[in-house]
């Protein structure tokens, strides 16, 4: 059996809605969504700055030891806002002294829901059955973040034996 793990912060980052989940000892301790409503919709840079500020609050509250990130994949064209988001998140993790591991969404879906383009409900169902969370009400972004965290834990936990 694997030993207890330090606190992990998992993110499903986006410039408008970011799901986050905190894992403590291989269980979801808390999760939530950082949103930016239409009234606050500014430029991508402004939204990312708001996201970073919100992440600082989450990190201060839970004091995670590492961060797992679900990053968009499969896009065959460059999306400047997403590139900016990834670089800003990497910079935030460096500033906070948190090791950041990013996994492509397709890789997480393939491993968790058995298909790289599995729809969101299938991913949520696979996660809730694997983590014994059936019946828990969470949003799509939270399930995505939980999937990223659970995938990271399964990789690091299996590697540690």
């Amino acid at each position: 059996m694997t030993a207890s793990k330090p606190i992990l912060l998992a993110l499903d980052a986006d410039t408008r809605r970011t799901g986050w989940a905190v894992f403590e000892d291989y269980a979801v301790a808390q999760s939530g969504v950082i949103t930016f409503g239409a009234t606050r919709a500014g430029t991508a840079q402004q939204r990312i700055e708001c996201l970073i500020a919100a992440l600082d609050e989450v990190a201060a509250r839970f004091r995670p030891a590492e961060v797992a990130l679900s990053s968009p994949s499969g896009l065959r064209w460059e999306v400047p806002a997403l590139a900016l988001l990834e670089s800003e998140l990497a910079a935030w993790a460096r500033r906070s002294g948190l090791p950041l591991t990013a996994y492509p969404v397709a890789q997480i879906r393939r491993e968790v829901a058995q298909h790289p383009r599995a729809p969101a409900p299938a991913l949520a169902f696979a996660v809730m059955t694997a983590l014994d969370m059936v019946g828990t009400a969470k949003s799509t972004h939270e399930w995505e973040a939980i999937a990223a965290g659970a995938y990271h834990l399964s990789r690091t936990g299996a590697a540690a034996g």
């Binding site: 059996m1 694997t2 291989y26 393939r110 491993e111 968790v112 829901a113 058995q114 298909h115 383009r117 694997a130 983590l131 014994d132 659970a150 995938y151 834990l153 399964s154 990789r155 936990g157 299996a158």
Partner: protein, 81 residues
């Protein structure tokens, strides 16, 4: 219409497109990395079935965490026996 005609297209398609082949909206399908995708509604029609027989490393890990495995006793149960 179900998914069956699309599987048939996959067998005999000479190009990467099936005009008006989407069972949902009637849009044109194109072959995207082994799966058909509708150009009109964006829906994917998967050719491959989930591999339920071979659980991924992810599922194996979390099943072990939950203390049970498919069909056999868990490590804890084996120890206590």
């Amino acid at each position: 219409m179900g998914g069956l005609p699309i599987l048939w297209y996959q067998e005999f398609a000479v190009s990467r497109f099936v005009l008006r082949g989407c069972p949902r909206c009637g849009g044109d399908l194109f072959l995207n990395e082994g799966d058909w995708q509708c150009l009109q509604c964006g829906r994917y029609w998967f050719n491959r079935r989930p591999q339920a027989a071979a659980p991924s490393a992810f599922l194996s890990f979390w099943r072990e965490r939950a203390g049970h495995t498919d069909g056999g006793p868990s490590a804890a149960e084996e120890k206590s026996a």
